[in-house]
Symmetry: C2
Subunit: 287 residues, 2 copies
Amino acid sequence: MPNLPPSSLPRTAPAVASERSGAVLPATSAAPAAATGASAALLSSTSSAESPSFSPLYRQIKGLIIARLQAGEWKAGESIPSELELAARFGVSQGTVRKAIDEMSAENLLVRRQGKGTFVATHAEQKQQYRFLRLMPDEGSESLGRQLLDCRRLRAPAAIARQLQLRTGDPMVEVRRLLHSKGEPVVLDDIWLPGQLFKGLSTELLNQHRGPFYGLFEAEFGVHMIRAQEKIRAVAADAETAALLQVEVGAPLLSVERLSFTYGDKPVELRRGLYNTASHFYRNELN
Amino acid sequence: MPNLPPSSLPRTAPAVASERSGAVLPATSAAPAAATGASAALLSSTSSAESPSFSPLYRQIKGLIIARLQAGEWKAGESIPSELELAARFGVSQGTVRKAIDEMSAENLLVRRQGKGTFVATHAEQKQQYRFLRLMPDEGSESLGRQLLDCRRLRAPAAIARQLQLRTGDPMVEVRRLLHSKGEPVVLDDIWLPGQLFKGLSTELLNQHRGPFYGLFEAEFGVHMIRAQEKIRAVAADAETAALLQVEVGAPLLSVERLSFTYGDKPVELRRGLYNTASHFYRNELN
DNA sequence: AAGTGGTCTAGACCACTCT
DNA sequence: GAGTGGTCTAGACCACTTG
């Protein structure tokens, strides 16, 4: 029951009383109280024209759930508490929790499974391996082979540090790898990660792991990539790249620069892929 | 009031009684009847394992609204009836209509405006001009200049006809144009349209029109592009393209092949853009 | 049978827009 | 003030999963 003191809450305040007293009580006793009135007190106020403006209850609940995810309370692939339990815990109705989870499900943060529960999204699943890889073969659908070329630690150059919101010279990990299709090299990836977050990352760890790197990052380092921005260009292959991808120097390649974010819009990976699009293409859906 | 004869409706049936008798009645009288029981009768039945399987009420409502859009009952930019009116018209609750509209809004078919109503999405608006164009300048944000190069009618070649689900030799319109940024050519577009749907399309019409082609297509031909698939590759400029885009022959260009769809997943435009990404990039968001 | 998410309804109140 | 979409609650029933 959101029974905060009815003091005039500014419209901007994320005013949900997180985990009030009887949080882990027998459950349902807390929720169905002076419902409508209470939540009204929670949300309404004079319309001061402040900047972050107004946040409805369900969005505040969403924020609380994200905070738990960020804190690692529920790990990738695990189930979170049921809607009814969350509703009791936060002192709101099931419908409000449902709307919060709806949004998070639409953003691929959570996955609902009817009859089973709601689960933390993961890159490690069979069904959606390579969630962020949009490269498709012109024909067929074989999976890609992986070949690790390099994994080293270094001091962050200015250009990379800036994008990852680090300081120049901060510790950083650099990974280089190839993806193959039918034995032919198709993608050359360079990956930069904050050294702080990926302390034990090594060639061995990367080599012994099956599946996408992002699954490893979740399991070993608790870092979830939930969103990414890509900048795509056409470039000409330089000598080194041409040799690795077995194309002519000057051949056109797709350059895909990806900045990946974890919870709280925090950038945690920069990746530059060079794709040979002779027999593959980058697929995009517009809405 | 969904009072169909309680004969056993198969689960697959889009069973909404569209526009029953008292459709345009004083409004609210139709809706709040033997609600729960009736809609239960509408949806439930024995679980026969049929193919298109089960469709909830709100999705059937969505289908009905899409059918109206397709029929041109409400045009691009116009408002559709209020949620309460639609609820009365279809004999369901406002909540069900709301959920249908929620989905359509998420798919950019409709746009909600609080206090004003719900509107048919359009490509002709200031706020989201060039909804499908993902090209961004490295710096600045000037809008792109347009230069029409050609507009002619022809018989569909096999490759293009297949993608537009036409027969080889069917009438077709081909348009070629350039987009400029700061006076420099950046994009060369070739566009193919079914001649059947775009009867009066001409150089004059295209030239006198302001804003994106998609806005013109909506206003003049009633064709709404609601979704598109793109295949992106890196290619080398041939002689003709190099001249038009003022680059060297062999220079790497982004090739963006776009197939656009209208209601009912019907393909109605094929477009091939060649982008000079020297000072622009293709922006994509991954979730 | 019990627990979970999914759908549907109903009603209250809020925020925004226009007249 | 009237009308619109936006939020929140409550309760019913359905579909799916697991023991």
